[in-house]
């Protein structure tokens, strides 16, 4: 909270336009004075922070960069160097990124990840937002599925229990969201429906799922679902985790979308009714486009949270990025490099999540051009 505006506020209106800009904004010293030393306690805070940064940053930099082993080297070299051991990441990168996927076939998950990122990249561009995009996703998804599972076109089959690392994390997140998003919209509409039975079912489902931790839902999908199926009918483990994730994400997305729906003025509904539109036309053409636009920031937040939550599948024994990193740490000759392993995957997660939040801000800016004053 600043009180610098209080001093010159009264004169401002009288001399509007005749004053030269104040000198503070022109020089480096002026900037320092305005932003770091504008009163005694801010000066103290600044000095304390500078001291802290001076104490912390050099050792961290030394560990991360200057003392680190950047090239492939045996672990003994690392232990002698005293800095970060990026040689460990060299050695284990493929295990961390692709888990237990057969070593000779790892071009397949690599290609799948590229394809998936390409699809996501294309979806980010509003120029491509049309029916072709959905078709591209269906085709791309099929190709990715065939690549990962094999068994076609002479690719040796790979069981899902061998899937792991980045493709699993990305796959669980994107497929989860792609399915959960429409389900969430339907749930949100159902919760605002005038039909009591439909509304009740939706409310009970949403509140039940939102009231329990994701772990219990994953336990349920991994342990209990099989008991509810007839003998001999099995659902694949990865798919079961995926179902659990979808159930979880759809309930949260439903609430976000419902928030957007509530913000649409009733006049919009009435206008659509008076044009003689049916319920689905009204929703598809008038209400949902506006509601979804309003909800972009919370939707992206839900996406980010969901992407981070995929790491929980390690608890039900799947090897996602975190799980694969942990299994890389079990190699006795490389044990103890947990800082490097965790740092490596933390950076991967950070890049993805940070990019998502940046994109959400960008989208908000471009979509709101029409209403910006």
């Amino acid at each position: 909270m600043t009180d610098q505006s209080a001093s010159n506020a009264p004169v401002q209106s009288a001399l509007q336009g005749k004053l030269r800009p104040p000198a503070v904004s022109l020089s480096i010293l002026g900037w320092l004075r305005a932003n770091l030393f504008n009163n005694w306690y801010n000066s103290v805070i600044t000095l304390v922070l500078l001291w802290l940064l001076y104490v912390l940053i050099p050792p961290i930099f030394q560990w991360l960069v200057s003392d680190a082993v950047w090239w492939a080297a045996p672990p003994e070299v690392c232990r002698a160097a005293g800095g970060a051991c990026w040689a460990f990441i060299h050695e284990k990168a493929r295990l961390i990124l692709f888990g237990l996927y057969p070593y000779d076939e790892q071009w397949r998950p690599a290609l799948s990840v590229m394809l998936l990122l390409g699809l996501i990249g294309a979806s980010l561009n509003r120029f491509f937002w049309n029916a072709w995009l959905i078709a591209a996703w269906i085709v791309g998804g099929t190709i990715i599925g065939c690549l990962m599972a094999g068994g076609v076109l002479g690719l040796p089959p790979v069981e899902t229990s061998r899937w792991g690392g980045l493709p699993l994390t990305l796959g669980l997140a994107t497929i989860g969201l792609a399915v959960a998003f429409p389900v969430g919209i339907v749930l949100a509409l159902a919760r605002r429906s005038t039909m009591p039975a439909i509304r009740t079912v939706s409310i009970v489902y949403i509140e039940l799922i939102r009231g329990v931790p994701l772990i219990t839902i994953l336990f349920m999908s991994s342990i209990i679902i099989p008991l509810f199926l007839p003998t001999g009918v099995g659902i694949d483990r990865v798919l079961r985790a995926q179902i659990g994730m979808i159930m979880f994400a759809s309930a949260y997305l439903a609430e976000v979308v419902r928030g957007g729906l509530q913000a649409i003025p009733g006049g919009q509904y009435e206008a659509a009714d008076s044009l003689g539109l049916g319920y689905w036309q009204k929703m598809r053409l008038i209400v949902l486009p506006q509601a979804l636009k309003i909800s972009i920031p919370p939707i992206v937040n839900t996406f980010i949270g969901f992407f981070k939550d995929t790491s929980l599948v390690i608890i039900i024994g799947l090897f996602d990025l975190v799980g694969a990193a942990k299994s890389a740490l079990t190699d006795p000759s490389w044990r103890g490099f947990y800082k490097e392993a965790y740092f490596f995957i933390a950076v991967i997660y950070f890049i993805f999540c940070y990019f998502m939040s940046w994109y959400s801000q960008y989208l908000e800016r471009t979509l709101n051009r029409d209403v910006r004053r």
Partner: protein
């Protein structure tokens, strides 16, 4: 909301009754209920067949049986001879312990960081922004693993423990602190504390009434602090001022005596606190920014000082915006405490898992988890809704 009422509905042509909205509404709902019942019946019948055919025991009878496993930390007395039911309660209390502490600490830290992000000090604002971004964009589970690794791998063994001063021991067995040795006066001091808090609330209400009536402000904060600290202190002095301390000492493998914060508990608590604080910081920042600047200017025009402006004008208004999203963060924290299972803190899920493995009663154990977390979630929601109503703007 739209209500589809058509008082002047045109008569429906014959054979077109299916296009009547009311008929359709009934039809859709019936269909949904039928589908749900059919699917539910199908699943349940499968379950019963499976349980029957494989001879799997069912029911909650196992809760009375002897558990046979030890739990590393417990707020109530518990031993391997106790029942599974008691083990569950131990786990539940551990969950409460970490969740409540986490909520308190995350609120304090989050509010602080949120205000720091708005500081006119550029460096402070940037440092807090970096903190928030890092915490928000890395999965909590990974953060828990990192905390646990930091505590267990980088701390020395008990024999080489760090002792910054007598009474505080840091090792890979956790943080051990000296605490006052047990004394009969302690329960009375707790009672004194509770009475003190009650008195403080009373003083606040009285002061508000007096200020409304006379306009005289009363130094509530000081008096309240005095009462809350003073009463237990007075009781302690009356009880003969026992000063004996229980100091952690190395005996055999581990330190005995004092109060121990285990690495598992510390990892979960730090993880939950730092992670949730980042989200609360963003909420606080948005809430403060949402209070229009005119309010601050108006308060300044009335001659209030900047800390008074914050306390009396900005924060009360910001709170209305802050509370609902903060509630959901509290709920998230309570639910996220279930991740404790990954680092071995014996919370409800961890104890429940062990029970599930020993007894094979998967459905029962998981139904207990769900029931407990649902109750926690619903109570927090209910309390926060009440509080929301309590401070809501009274439109005149």
């Amino acid at each position: 909301m739209t209500v589809e009422t058509h008082p002047h509905r045109a008569p429906i042509p014959k054979g077109r009754w299916l296009y009547d909205a009311r008929v359709r509404s009934v039809l859709y709902q019936t269909l949904l209920v039928v589908i749900l019942v059919a699917v539910g019946w199908y699943l349940i019948s499968n379950l019963l067949v499976n349980l029957e055919r494989q001879n799997i025991a069912t029911g909650y009878g196992f809760l009375d049986r002897e558990a046979g496993f030890e739990i590393s930390e417990s707020l109530i007395s518990y031993g391997a001879a106790d029942s599974y039911g008691r083990a569950f309660i131990v786990g539940l209390l551990n969950t409460f312990q970490v969740a409540i502490l986490g909520i308190v600490l995350a609120t304090i830290l989050g509010t602080l960081v949120g205000i720091m992000r708005l500081s006119s000090n550029w460096l402070l604002a940037k440092v807090s922004a970096v903190y928030v971004e890092i915490m928000r964009n890395i999965p909590l589970l990974l953060q828990l693993f990192i905390w646990y690794a930091i505590i267990t791998v980088s701390m020395p063994s008990p024999r080489a423990a760090l002792q910054p001063f007598t009474g505080l021991v840091l090792s890979n067995r956790g943080i051990q602190m000296a605490v006052p040795a047990a004394d009969p006066i302690h329960p009375w001091m707790w009672a004194g504390l509770l009475i003190g808090i009650g008195l403080a609330i009373g003083i606040k209400i009285w002061a508000k009434r007096r200020q409304d009536a006379t306009g005289q402000p009363f130094p509530v904060a000081l008096t309240a602090a005095g009462v809350i600290i003073g009463l237990p202190l007075a009781i302690w002095v009356l009880g003969g001022a026992p000063t004996e301390m229980s100091i952690p000492e190395l005996q055999g493998f581990n330190f005995r005596g004092g109060r121990t914060i285990s690495p598992e508990f510390a990892a979960v608590l730090f993880g939950l606190t730092f992670y949730t604080a980042a989200f609360i910081a963003e909420i606080v920042r948005a809430g403060i920014l949402a209070v229009s600047y005119g309010q601050t200017e108006a308060a300044a025009a009335l001659g209030l000082r900047s800390n008074m402006i914050m306390r009396l004008v900005v924060l009360p208004q910001a709170l209305r915006i802050i509370i609902p999203p903060t509630t959901s963060q509290y709920l998230n924290l309570a639910k996220n405490s279930s991740l404790a299972v990954a680092v071995g803190y014996p919370d409800l899920v961890s104890v429940g898992n062990t029970t599930l493995n020993q007894t094979g009663q998967a459905i029962e154990a998981i139904s207990i988890f769900m029931a407990v977390y649902l109750s926690i979630s619903l109570s927090i929601s209910a309390f926060m809704n009440w509080y929301n109503k309590h401070i809501a703007l009274v439109e005149r």
